[in-house]
């Protein structure tokens, strides 16, 4: 009987141990990731970032001296500031095994979770502050009635705090439907509040975003929530880790990590044309995987952002540089396609030639790369640059795509082994 009682006594996790556990988890994560950053820098990305930063600063400075009178500065500010205010997520570094080993210490994880919230919020707050600081010279000069720097910064941080609270409550909501709605409301609220601040007078903006904020918080507080959403924390961790690994796998071979999958019912037929054609078996599998992957989202965002920037610069010859940069980055990201199913056991069991996977990835990446190269030239056709310039840019895009293909085709022999 005595033995049973002692076993039932709750295990203590003192503050120091929770703190130490947090430190250990953070160190372990960065210990896994940092060695790979060397390869990222060696890949030329470091140079691209430095080059982008220097040329960006120079372009921005010269642009500040000749801002067109009708420059849509509020729209630009909204596009830059609203996502920075709305996007918040929390890193907890919790692992599936914690569900077994830390569950009974759940009530003592307060310190651990506080560290998690602080760790997650600081960089995101800094991103918002940096965005506002960079935007401020342009906003101050181009806006007809600019609001004060510090007041705007304080208001933006307040918006961020509300969105951060929303994201934290969202993690705790029981019903997945409500969780999704809550996420949608967070984005609507953040975009709306930033727009109110940019377009309305201070009292009107305070009133409208204040009322909307109170309604949003009240809505959040009336949802059914879990005290400690273990599964949601662990699932979010997998997503974060998957994203980091996905980014790094663009530069170096990474150990497989679980990647987030997206249902995307509008793409459910994508790849069906390869079904029941044994030579195209891997194209079927890759098409299905790509349709639900994070990579497709990245491709769409890169193409979307590239199109926006190229619409903006379509009359300038700088557009060629921007175009080349986007086609290059898209090509670098497409390397991820080659990592799909690389260590797949079925590759060695199913009656498919060993090089079929690589061949399928090569064909698919070239098609996507070429399609992106063509799509990104669309704004240029409506610009005022010469036809020879437009055609040269298009040819340049095709050359980048084909050079990527040639480089990756060489890896084929390695795959066959």
């Amino acid at each position: 009987m005595e033995r049973v009682e002692s076993e039932m006594r709750p295990t203590k996790l003192p503050v120091m141990e929770a703190e130490a556990l947090w430190q250990l988890r953070v160190r372990r994560f960065w210990g896994k990731v940092l060695p790979y950053l060397r390869y990222v820098i060696q890949s030329g990305l470091g140079l691209v970032i430095v080059f982008g930063f220097v040329s960006g600063v120079a372009l921005y400075a010269s642009f500040l001296d000749r801002i067109p009178p009708s420059f849509p500065v509020r729209e630009l500010a909204l596009v830059l500031l609203a996502p920075a205010a709305a996007y918040t997520t929390y890193r907890t570094f919790l692992e599936p095994a914690d569900l077994v080993f830390l569950l009974r210490m759940e009530h003592q994880l307060g310190v651990y979770m506080k560290r998690s919230v602080r760790y997650s919020l600081w960089p995101r707050m800094l991103l918002l502050i940096a965005s506002w600081c960079v935007l401020w010279p342009l906003y101050n000069r181009a806006d007809a009635e600019p609001k004060g720097f510090l007041l705007s910064l304080a208001v933006l941080l307040l918006f961020k705090a509300v969105a951060a609270f929303g994201a934290w409550k969202e993690r705790h909501i029981v019903d997945p439907k409500w969780r999704l709605s809550s996420r949608l409301f967070r984005y609507i609220w953040a975009w709306g509040a930033v727009a109110c601040w940019l377009w309305l007078s201070i009292p009107l903006a305070a009133l409208s975003s204040g009322i909307a904020g109170i309604v949003y918080i009240a809505w959040l507080l009336t949802r059914r929530t879990l005290h400690f959403p273990w599964e949601a924390h662990i699932a979010a961790e997998k997503v974060h880790e998957g994203r980091v690994y996905l980014f790094l796998s663009g530069f170096v071979d990474m150990p497989a990590a679980e990647e987030r999958r997206y249902a995307r019912p509008w793409l459910k037929r994508y790849g069906d044309r390869f079904a029941f054609t044994p030579q195209a078996a891997y194209r079927y599998l890759l098409a299905k995987t790509f349709a639900r992957s994070e990579l497709l989202g990245i491709m769409l965002r890169l193409n979307g952002l590239g199109l926006l920037l190229l619409i903006w610069t379509r009359d300038s010859e700088w557009s060629a540089l921007l175009y080349g940069l986007f086609v290059f980055v898209i090509g670098a990201q497409l390397k991820t396609l080659f990592t799909y199913h690389r260590h797949d056991v079925w590759r060695t069991i199913y009656p498919i030639p060993l090089n079929a996977r690589h061949k399928a990835a090569l064909d698919m990446s070239t098609r996507i790369h070429l399609a992106s190269a063509v799509v990104l030239t669309l704004p240029l056709w409506f610009g005022t640059t010469s036809w020879s310039f437009k055609l040269t840019v298009l040819a340049g895009g095709a050359v980048i795509a084909l050079l990527s293909r040639m480089k990756r085709a060489r890896a084929r022999t390695e795959d066959e082994e």
Partner: protein, 296 residues
């Protein structure tokens, strides 16, 4: 009509061809006697994960066409390692594995096309639905679409998976994942099925459906190599058993032959169930097995 005659450990195919001979030879019955080769031959296989530390020692057994063979043994006995050698996932240290008379290195694609495998734990793609897994497998094995649709309809009914065919694999329960794996192999109908622990995660209805289906494919001429701990279930379905212990074949044969062998070793009555005899025999044995520890 070919007629099968059991002779000793081998089977002999007798083909009566008198009716196709010229009329001058009518009345003379010629028997063309040909020894039928086992579908799968494992000949003195020694192997494992690292050279110098074999997990399997000198394993020999055959699987004939239309036969279900049960690979039995305790955890760590070498069942899954044997299967990995058959699949070509491990290279033998010595000995041969032949499927339809050929080693994997001689004709890799034909070798792989002749078998389908269900692993101990389901290995599915998060990004694919159940139906897409079936299509991908059928595409890889070159199954014709109309035949595939017919088989899938039948299998989905049998395993009660119809409402789940368009669900993403990551949202399936453990049992449904196992059913998906089983449906994938049964949709392609290879000559040899290698199934590691087929009943794991299945509900009683699923187990019954699976046994019924395995019996069906066996009657159609396919062979099955099945590993399982649930002896009470497979003892009624397998034609032959291979008992592995510490990486060696400790007994083989039909259920009665194995009963006699185990009864002889354990000192129990041979009339007892295979499961009881097996546990009576291994009960006192040290089952530490092979493998590496973290300190090695």
């Amino acid at each position: 009509m070919p007629h099968m005659l059991p002779i000793g450990d081998t089977q002999v195919m007798a083909v009566d061809r008198w009716h196709s001979l010229p009329s001058s030879l009518s009345g003379i019955i010629i028997l063309e006697v040909k020894q039928m080769e086992p579908l799968l031959q494992i000949d003195r296989l020694t192997g494992g994960y690292s050279i110098g530390r074999p997990v399997l020692h000198d394993i020999t057994f055959n699987v004939n066409a239309g036969e279900m063979v049960g690979l039995i043994g305790l955890n760590g006995a070498g069942k899954s390692t044997t299967m990995k050698h058959i699949l070509g996932l491990l290279e033998p240290h010595s000995g041969k594995v032949r499927l339809q008379g050929r080693a994997l290195s001689e004709a890799p694609e034909a070798y792989r096309a002749a078998l389908a495998y269900v692993p101990e734990s389901p290995i599915l793609y998060d990004a694919l639905t159940v139906r897409e897994h079936l299509v991908w497998t059928a595409t890889a094995y070159g199954v014709e679409q109309t035949l595939f649709e017919k088989r899938v309809a039948e299998l989905a009914d049998l395993f009660q998976m119809k409402p789940h065919l368009d669900k993403a694999a990551q949202h399936l329960s453990k049992g449904m994942k196992q059913k998906t794996m089983l449906m994938c192999v049964f949709a392609v109908r290879p000559p040899l099925y290698i199934i590691d622990e087929p009943f794991l995660g299945l509900d009683p209805l699923g187990i019954r459906s699976l046994l019924q289906y395995m019996k069906g494919v066996k009657e159609e001429g396919a062979s099955l190599l099945v590993s399982s701990h649930i002896l009470s279930t497979i003892e009624h379905y397998c034609d032959q058993f291979v008992l592995l212990h510490h990486g060696r074949v400790m007994g083989a044969g039909t259920v009665h032959e194995l009963q006699n062998q185990l009864a002889h070793r354990s000192g129990e009555a041979a009339t007892q169930r295979l499961e009881d005899l097996f546990y009576a025999w291994v009960g006192g044995d040290d089952a530490s097995g092979g493998g590496l520890t973290w300190n090695e």
